[in-house]
Point group: C2
Chain length 260, copies 2
Amino acid sequence: MPEPIIFYDIPGKDVTPKAWSPNTWKTRYCLNFKGLPYKTVWVEYPDIEAVMRKAGILPAATKADGSPYYTLPAIYDPNTKAGLAESAAIARYLDRTYPDTPRLIPAETDALHAAFNQAFRNAFLPDLAKLTIPAVANHLPPRSEVYFRKTREVGFGVANLDDIAPPGPKRDEAWAGVKKGLAMIAEWLQADGSDKLFFTGKDKIVYADMTVAGFLIWARVVLDKKEWEDLISWHEGRWGKFMAAFEKYEAVDEGEDAVL
Amino acid sequence: MPEPIIFYDIPGKDVTPKAWSPNTWKTRYCLNFKGLPYKTVWVEYPDIEAVMRKAGILPAATKADGSPYYTLPAIYDPNTKAGLAESAAIARYLDRTYPDTPRLIPAETDALHAAFNQAFRNAFLPDLAKLTIPAVANHLPPRSEVYFRKTREVGFGVANLDDIAPPGPKRDEAWAGVKKGLAMIAEWLQADGSDKLFFTGKDKIVYADMTVAGFLIWARVVLDKKEWEDLISWHEGRWGKFMAAFEKYEAVDEGEDAVL
């Protein structure tokens, strides 16, 4: 049995589960699906860069000004002494390093998975983010909330996150966009005339499915219950059935807070 | 041996080969790859709707005003008496109907293929079209040219197609966009750290590859030779090597002109 992998995640407050981030959820699904031992280390937003630098984990992205952008999820694997960030890179690392565990990205689908990731982001995220980003702010611990509001307000070009999609026409429009995005994903799943629940076939979950699930659980955790119930009624109840299949991979360990 | 499938394509003039359309090329690659007997029927643009109606082939798209939009490629298969349009639908039909021929879309990649198609169009087409659409107009027979210029000028919102990307900054910008789009596709192919030429692995071509090839042969047939040579020098010569692998699937039969 390998040593537990260190899994860096961002804590919420007043949410169940404590894990809420769509991108870190993808990695949690990967780890739980593979049955690999791991321990969550909770990192508040303003501390991500310092914790990553201390752990020697390189950033996976770059800010508009060219400076490094440290993001989570990230893992440190004591078995190989490798540390890396970004959910797709982590999935590929886990497949490569633990070939005896269930495969996340079947080799012949790797490039198609990369294309899927791009299409998924275009189809679904811009409108979902208008709803979930303001909701996230309300579910973060105080230091994270201040940091998150400041950076996301700049990103969206608004004075207050709550102005992005307040109840009313703006919210209705974003919500309609979320539905349209999910309709497109449902179309992909039915392209060959079958009615698959998961990307590669009837009972087999792969990374593309975990990507969709990561963003759906984000919606489930941070949005109002009523909105979530609306969502799972769409497309013949597809998304409720879809998420039910992920319940067995949703365990969140207690973990510990990052030490700076 | 099945009866020859009727394959409806759009003729060019003053181009070699006479077939130039990216979407119909995808279908020609599919037919040649599977080794299915077929006969091309050349249909000029203004005649597509009438020819499709006569053949009883339903349109695969809808115009902005909600009216049916008849497009090519389309096929009529006398073996099954099925007629259908749209390259991806045709690929799936051929896989389903001729299961003993090489598979275009491996079943477990079907939904990922659909997502790929969306990502590919976003990544690559808008800028490529700025270069190829005006070039196509110059390579169509007179009746098709008139029809094509009129409809595409409306689509692009320009008085003259030649204003879209004339030599100079506008063309340079579109060309840079084409390069960026192909760079993204190259990134998908290298996402797992390998350097695949084709989507599913080293020597196996699937429909995603034919999609890329269909659009690259479009560029090769209608653009200036110098621009094509520039393109195949990009990304360590990847696209030249890629297209070389398609040469054996590029036979164009003489066919016959559609009878109205």
